[in-house]
Amino acid sequence: MTSVLYDAPGPRAKRRSVLISIIGAVLIVGGLISLIWTLGQPRVSANGSIQPGMWDPSRWDIFLDVQVWRFLGQGVLATLQMFAVAAVLAIIIGILFSFGRAAARQWIRTPVTVILEFFRGMPVLLMMLFILLVFATGAFWAGVWALAVYNGAIIGEALRAGIQSLPKGQREAGLSIGLTPLATRFRIEFPQAFRQMLPIILAQLVVLLKDTALAYIVGYPELLRNATTFLANFYGNRYFFSLFFVALGIYLVMNLTLSWIARFVARRTGPKLGKTTGPASHVPGIDGTRAITLPRTDADTGLDQTGL
């Protein structure tokens, strides 16, 4: 890989780099092997009974049972269901927030701003608990509404930034051809802002999918709850860890898939983003100059920092 930060390595630097690479790889692989080995050791519990190691077949044999997978599948479905409903609501709420935030009238703008700051500044978990206890909606809707409102607030901010970053001429042109201010916003400004902010919205949806695991805490029977509470209770506690690691793997697959889709879309709509950052991002010369740049990997849409 070439980079502006350092020269193409000569023979000595190459040798050193290979050496460090090998040492690093040995350390990492060694650490992993020792971790796996430690996990595999049988251990003596406090009352003197010996429990089999982590990789003992007696800890994994339930995964041959179709019922286990069916139950895990139900958990995945419950998670995805919460994600889907919350995502749709979050986008709707986000659109409403963005219009309120960008409204021409002060008496709309100020209260919407305050409400938005309030929702953005408080933990989703607390919101879930609030909805669960105060509105007595049940765990599913508590999770859905909390996720929708929180992520809606963030999507709303992104859309507002998108609307405000548009050239003023867009709005003026809309008004000058006789559209009402509202129609201008809906038909001229909003579609452009939405397209421009699509990568950010998708990145936020990845966060939303991750945050569905919070519903575990308010007792919604999603993937983690199904795996580590219901299944572990039913089949016995010695499967607790295997079930946890399987649930972890499923979460990783789901999140990585959605992240990948988000990045794919971000890259496709990518070049448009450059326009909003103003003259600072302008690189003189033909496009080819851009090719020499810092090592950029695909994570580089600049999105994932705010979420968590």
Partner: protein
Amino acid sequence: MDAIIEWLPEFGRAFLVTLSLLVFAGLGALVIGIIIAAMRISPVASLRVFATGYTELFRNIPLTLILFFCAFVLPYLDVDLDYYTLALIGLTAYTSPFVAEAIRSGINGVPVGQAEAARSIGLGFGQVLSLIVMPQAIRMVIPPLINVFIALTKNTSVAGAFFVVEIFNVARTAANARGDEVVPILLFAALLYLVITVPLGFIAGRIEKKVAVLR
């Protein structure tokens, strides 16, 4: 209202616990994040691969599962720590890749010409990074970093579900004990979080404006 007064001492202690979680996990994540970011742009391939893998792994695991791992699996592996320290480890591990990404995006935001000019006058990799690129990157990176810490503040609430007595935990206990005053109790807990997050957001906005003028 009297429920809040009744629980005020607990809330006070819980607020300090949340603050200390924020400070220590934040510092830990900052240190690990800077190391990971440096590894990601280093000339050595294996370091880059490791840093990328670390980032991808920890960014795509829900925080609930990480803290679950820390609270239930680590003690089983003979890690003999209290729940506060375990939660601190989990929060640090979860936040560090976000810090690393923020710093890296700052480095990428430094115009290419800066690094080219530095190299053309004969500076090496370490010099380019420490004298030219990093001082510019860090300034641009402060607002996104503050946003990461705001998110961390909110994420400390998840530790409350795993036996750490912080604001969320106390709010839940208090709401269960005083079913008649659930709304004021939870709103008060939200207020305590806002006391931390809103000023941080304000500072981030101010710095962002300042930096924008300078650039």
